[in-house]
């Protein structure tokens, strides 16, 4: 470990110097080694039982004297000893999780409540652990020996035994060996030396090829060979800096006019429509889907669109209730301008956007007939959630161990009153600003305007939390009277802003938003420490106009996100249908059917068949909720909510269509068609009758080097079942791609 730290320093210096010479300093961030050491749980020399004591035993004296041939009581607090970690400042107990499995193969998670050093052993830590499952899917483990491991930054320690309520009945997992301190130190030294070797190059660029591909899976709609080569050359941080400077989407938003609520006969889907595609383009979300997939497949502003798509699945509206594409586009623009901006500004822009107003009914909520839909969801779904959170995203508990609600119906009722009176932009409203208004069509391109007569003028009490006193009380309008548009208008907007401040300043917002974005980009069940690190960035930038840029950057550069491979079995996320689709297409150079140009990007049929039809979420709860627990695991896996027997096969059938088929040209909806580019794989296939080079390519491109030897040999068997004639080169390539991308191993981004 010491060697690793020493080895890292000169490289950082060198990188900085190169940067000064060749690049502008703004782009000169260095990329350190992304890998973390692997924690090692200690045992005694002759046992595979973890070194453990009651937590009351302080770690003084010789570690070697700990007698660990004992069982601990269920629910008791113990200390486990481990080595080979390198902690960042502030990284503590919540960076670690202890997982256990019993003889029935059920998994449990024991809370790590303390972390300490051990006197006399500078490289040894002790984790204080409570032997009570906090996953709660299976209840208590069966008494007896458990297999336990420690997880840290997506890495798993060795698996060793721990007796809880007994000491019998479980076998060592294959390959387990005792790891007394001497052995553990030897392993640690080996690791450090290897990492030191990887450090020993001089120059900018990013040579950790597996991590580079992982990074691109997290930050884009899929790696391409061109993009990978570029990031290899310039590094992650420089690429990120470029992305943050990138403008709006490369393929601009379609310019669609506002239309009347009742479609004219020339735009109602009849054969006399002018143009014939009028209804498709103006009264459905078809153009938005095309815009989205054009940018996802071919755009340069990948990170912007990736985060846009994540936020679309948080601040949800749906084409099921949004009548016109122009309405959805205005909403996309409201989100888009804040993607790398400030969250509070996004709250304001979304709240007054008429498409959201329509979707969650604020557009029709009035003083006399208030509507609770938007006020409830802006708290529950978009910003705060239902229960008080710690800054690391874990639940706060009351004295009885129950979660603490963030608000009740009274809060909803009061907040509803604040949000009354706004409607689609009307030039007749006081001080309305509706530059895009078109007579006869509701104006969904401009923010909602206020019908002052419909705004509630009474006092309101909003969210109450530590620090809420500045925002929680909205006084009644006045004094003395509040009966003119000129008095109500400023009151209503001041109240609205105060209410948004009241929500934004709630302590839940930082962990709520941070955890959600981590789940969308990196992993389904992040460690609390990871969430906490991002929350801190969110909070440190609360008033910054580039708050979200800092948040996104922190998420993608966090040590839990980075590293060549993640060995924690709980790490990673199921690829959502949209990502599965775009990753396959981008990794295999998607083109038009004639191969001369780009696909028309009309590919939403595929994610739709897998229960994710973009811009048509079934409900405001999105296609899948962030709190979804994978059945049988007690592991958060949001995307699994739409992974079932039917959609599992739909995924395989998507791969079949894409790899063995194409989307043919058909006017007017698929003018170019869509197909994969397989020629380079055919060439590789043709050049090597053994199929090994083809498998290397699959491993590098799709599995970023993590394909197991068994997976490799299984696919190779099917590939070599096709005889190696030049005419069969394509069939071999197709079989390799089909089997790789339909595998469960590839369904999971880890």
């Amino acid at each position: 470990m010491v060697g690793r730290l020493l080895g890292a320093a000169p490289r950082v210096l060198l990188t900085a110097m190169v940067a000064v010479f060749f690049v502008g300093s703004a782009l000169a961030d260095s990329d350190p080694d992304p890998n973390s050491p692997t924690p090692i749980l200690l045992t005694s020399p002759d046992s595979t039982r973890v070194l453990a004591t009651d937590s009351s035993v302080r770690g003084k004296g010789s570690l070697e004297r700990i007698a660990n041939n004992r069982a601990f009581d269920t629910g008791s607090k113990i200390a486990l000893y481990f080595t080979n970690v390198a902690l960042m400042p502030g990284e503590g107990a919540n960076a670690f999780r202890v997982y256990a499995s019993d003889s029935e193969g059920h998994f449990y998670r024991f809370p790590v409540v303390g972390l300490g050093r051990v006197a006399g052993y500078p490289d040894v830590y002790r984790a204080t652990v409570i032997l009570t499952d906090d996953m709660k899917f299976w209840g208590a483990p069966r008494p007896g020996d458990l297999n336990v491991y420690l997880a840290w930054r997506g890495l798993a320690s060795n698996v060793v035994k721990l007796g809880v309520g007994g000491m019998d009945g479980i076998k060592d997992v294959p390959g387990t060996f005792p790891t007394p301190l001497a052995t553990a130190r030897a392993i640690a030294a080996t690791q450090a030396k290897e990492m030191g070797n990887e450090d020993s190059y001089g120059g900018v660029g990013y040579r950790w090829s597996s991590d580079r591909m992982r990074f691109l899976e997290q930050a884009t709609f899929g790696p391409t060979q061109t993009l990978d080569a570029r990031v290899r050359r310039i590094g992650l941080r420089t690429w990120l800096a470029e992305q943050f400077e990138s403008n709006y989407a490369d393929f601009p938003y379609p310019d669609i006019p506002l239309m009347p609520s009742t479609a004219p006969t020339t735009c109602d889907g009849g054969t006399d429509d002018v143009p014939l595609t009028c209804r498709r383009d103006r009264y459905t979300q078809y153009p938005v889907q095309i815009w989205f997939f054009k940018n996802a497949l071919y755009g340069e502003s990948q990170l912007r669109l990736r985060v846009n798509w994540a936020l679309n699945q948080l601040w949800v509206i749906s084409g099921n209730d949004t009548q016109q594409s122009s309405h959805m586009i205005a909403y996309q623009q409201a989100i888009d301008k804040n993607i790398f901006g400030n969250w509070r500004q996004m709250m304001y822009d979304v709240t007054l956007n008429p498409a959201m107003g329509n979707y969650l009914d604020m557009i029709r909520s009035t003083r006399t007939n208030p509507n609770e839909n938007y006020p409830r969801e802006i708290m529950q779904l978009f910003n705060i959630g239902l229960f008080m959170l710690n800054q690391d995203g874990t639940l706060q508990l009351d004295g009885q161990g129950n979660p603490i609600p963030t608000y009740d119906q009274t809060t909803v009722t009061n907040l509803t009153k604040v949000f009354t009176g706004w409607r689609d932009c009307r030039t007749s409203d006081f001080q309305a600003n509706c530059p895009n208004a078109v007579p006869g069509s509701p104006d969904y391109k401009d923010n909602m305007s206020l019908n002052t007569g419909s705004h509630d003028l009474t006092a309101k009490t909003l969210l109450t939390y530590p620090g809420s006193s500045a925002t929680m009380n909205v006084a009644a309008c006045g004094p003395p009277t509040c009966n003119t548009q000129a008095t109500i208008y400023p009151y209503a907007y001041a109240s609205l802003n105060q209410a948004l401040d009241n929500i934004y300043n709630h302590p839940n917002v930082a962990p709520f938003v941070s955890k959600y974005l981590i789940q969308q980009l990196v992993t389904g069940d992040p460690s609390p420490a990871y969430v906490g690190r991002i929350s801190a960035v969110f909070n440190a930038n609360r008033t910054s106009p580039t708050q979200m840029k800092e948040v996104i950057k922190a998420i993608l550069l966090d040590p839990e996100a980075r590293g060549d491979s993640k060995t924690d079995p709980n790490y990673g996320k199921l690829r959502e249908p949209v990502q599965l689709t775009t990753n396959l297409y981008r990794q295999l150079g998607v083109t038009s059917v004639d191969g001369t140009t780009q696909s028309d990007a009309n590919i939403s049929r595929y994610p739709r068949a897998m229960s994710q039809n973009p811009f048509y979420s079934p409900t405001v709860f999105n296609f899948y909720p962030p709190s979804y627990v994978i059945p049988g695991t007690s592991l958060l896996g949001p995307e699994f909510a739409i992974f079932n027997t039917g959609t599992a096969i739909a995924r395989a059938n998507f791969a079949n269509s894409a790899v063995y088929g194409r989307i043919n040209v058909s006017q007017p909806d698929t003018p170019n068609g869509t197909q994969l580019y397989l020629a380079d794989l055919e060439a590789i296939s043709n050049a090597d009758a053994t199929g090994n080079k083809l498998l290397d390519e699959m491993n590098n491109r799709f599995m970023h080097g993590t394909m197991s030897s068994q997976m490799r040999s299984t696919i190779l068997t099917a590939v070599t079942a096709i005889s190696s004639t030049p005419a069969n080169a394509k069939a071999r390539a197709q079989a390799a791609v089909y089997l790789t991308v339909t595998s469960s191993q590839y369904q999971v981004q880890r």
Binding site: P405, S565, A648, Q745
Partner: protein, 495 residues
């Protein structure tokens, strides 16, 4: 050096293959079977009849106040005038003349009215709807039912002396409690799934598909600890194609690829996320083999999402003997009930779809000779505020609490109201804002009725009929002991 490190990482990773065994066993309740054997409880006799429960979930929260309406002028309890006075000014009241009358013995023979969409007059009707089944004694209503931790009066609600369900009026949480079958804490499993955990081994010992099938994704209701639901597309896809991976011809190369496709799911299971994906795909592939032949149903179903879902259920029921299955639970769902606005038009269309589809399904069960063996029942997030939201053409209603649910099937004991009495001495609540059954208080009260009948009592009655022994009810419904009457009487448990 690289070797050493990789080896260590791989070893620690592979070591976790212990998950694999557990997940592999989760198919078809195999673990449940093992657990049962371990406890020597396999004294149950495999049933010699067929029974199925079909949950029709009205997602978004159907407004019960406009679905079941007083259609009488009795002055002693809430009557049509009371209803109309609260809803007509904003345009949310349904005209008395258009209500479909039902006679309710439990209410002293008074007349109540069903939403007009339950009759034959809806647009595109292909049958007479479910209203007709009331008079035939094949349909009943369970009243004032909702999520509860324990029985609760209005005074107790307001003084906090009895624990409330967590997060009342929130969609996701109330759906979770209806489907999860408990309201004190979040559930990872649903009550349908727990019924299947318990009954798969004794009732379907050689079933070729899981006890639970959803035609609307894998919902909480369908998830057990050891049960994974079969989730398939609606009748727009034939059973033979619904889980069939395309592109595998009989050529040697294709068969080799199919073999690899299958065996990839037996490796790399150290990752729980990968294992979960493999597990679900395995189940799909096994069910696919059992679904390759089937017979079409004979009754015409509406060509709506709900109609196609129920048609697919009917196809599976027709295939029950081939599938070697004696007990089944189904889940279908129709959305669009979150009528914060435009309720008059929207709810009429949605309830018309519900009525037409449930009636077609009932008729198909009659045709298959199992009408008294298959019970359809509704659930929903919650009911909606008695006080309207917005007004005029936009009029709708907000989230509320206690609701009315409908049970349809040949096994119904009588066409009546079932449920626990409210403070007015009847099972129908007092329709007064800030009144004795309103959770809301004061001048802002919107009419959110406090339930007197718990989800557990409603679901428990269904589960008992399905074959869950009385002694096992508490393993399906952990809080059912908080409620005295666990059999509401609208179905009769097996002898």
């Amino acid at each position: 050096m690289k070797q050493d490190r990789r080896e260590f990482l791989m070893r620690s990773g592979c070591a976790l293959g212990m998950t694999a065994l557990a997940t592999q066993m989760r198919h078809f309740g195999l673990m449940s079977a093992m657990a049962q054997e371990a406890k020597s409880e396999r004294s149950d006799v495999v049933p010699n009849d067929y029974r199925a429960l079909v949950c029709v979930f009205l997602a978004g929260g159907n407004d019960g106040n406009n679905t079941l309406i007083p259609n009488h002028n009795d002055a002693t309890i809430s009557n049509y005038g009371v209803y109309s006075a609260a809803r007509s000014a904003q345009g949310l009241a349904i005209a008395q003349a258009s209500l479909l009358p039902i006679t309710v013995p439990r209410m002293g023979g008074l007349t109540y009215g069903l939403h007009p969409s339950f009759g034959p007059g809806v647009a595109g009707a292909i049958n007479n709807g479910i209203h007709e089944l009331w008079a035939q004694g094949k349909m009943c209503a369970v009243t004032n039912v909702g999520t509860l931790v324990a029985p609760m009066t209005r005074a107790q609600y307001q003084n906090g002396s009895v624990r409330k369900p967590y997060q009342l009026y929130s969609h996701s949480d109330q759906v979770g409690q209806y489907q999860g079958g408990r309201s004190d804490t979040e559930s990872f499993t649903g009550w349908g799934g727990r019924v299947a955990d318990l009954r798969t081994s004794p009732d379907n010992p050689s079933g070729l598909i899981p006890m639970i099938t959803s035609i609307s994704g894998a919902q909480l209701f369908t998830a057990g600890q050891t049960t994974l639901p079969l989730a398939i597309a609606d009748s727009g896809t034939s059973l033979a194609n619904v889980l069939n991976p395309q592109g595998f011809s009989s050529s040697a190369a294709n068969q080799a690829r199919l073999a690899a496709f299958n065996s990839l799911r037996t490796i790399d299971l150290s990752s729980q996320v990968v294992a979960a994906a493999s597990d679900i795909t395995n189940e799909a592939m096994q069910a696919n083999a059992a679904l390759q032949t089937s017979q079409e149903v004979t009754v015409v179903f509406p060509n709506t999402s709900l109609g196609r879902q129920l048609k697919q259920v009917a196809r599976l029921i027709k295939k029950r003997t081939d599938l070697s299955i004696n007990r089944q639970v189904f889940f279908v769902q129709i959305g669009g009930f979150d009528t914060h606005n435009g309720q008059i038009t929207t709810q009429a269309a949605q309830l018309g779809d519900v009525s037409q589809s449930m009636r077609a399904f009932y008729d198909e069960m009659v045709a298959q000779g199992v009408a008294d063996k298959v019970t359809q029942f509704t659930m929903a997030d919650f009911s909606r505020t008695f006080n309207p939201a917005s007004s005029g053409g936009n009029v709708g209603s907000d989230h509320a609490w206690a609701n009315y649910h409908f049970v349809v099937g040949g096994g119904i004991t009588s066409a009546d109201f079932f449920g626990i009495n409210t403070s007015n001495g009847t099972p129908f609540p007092t329709l007064t804002m800030n009144g004795p059954d309103d959770a809301d208080n004061g001048s802002n009260a919107r009419g959110r009725w406090i339930p007197t009948t718990s989800v557990e009592q409603y679901a428990g009655t269904l589960a008992r009929w399905f074959g869950v022994p009385a002694g096992n009810l508490s393993s399906v419904f952990p809080l059912i002991g908080n409620f005295s009457n666990t059999d509401l009487g609208f179905l009769v448990p097996p002898a």
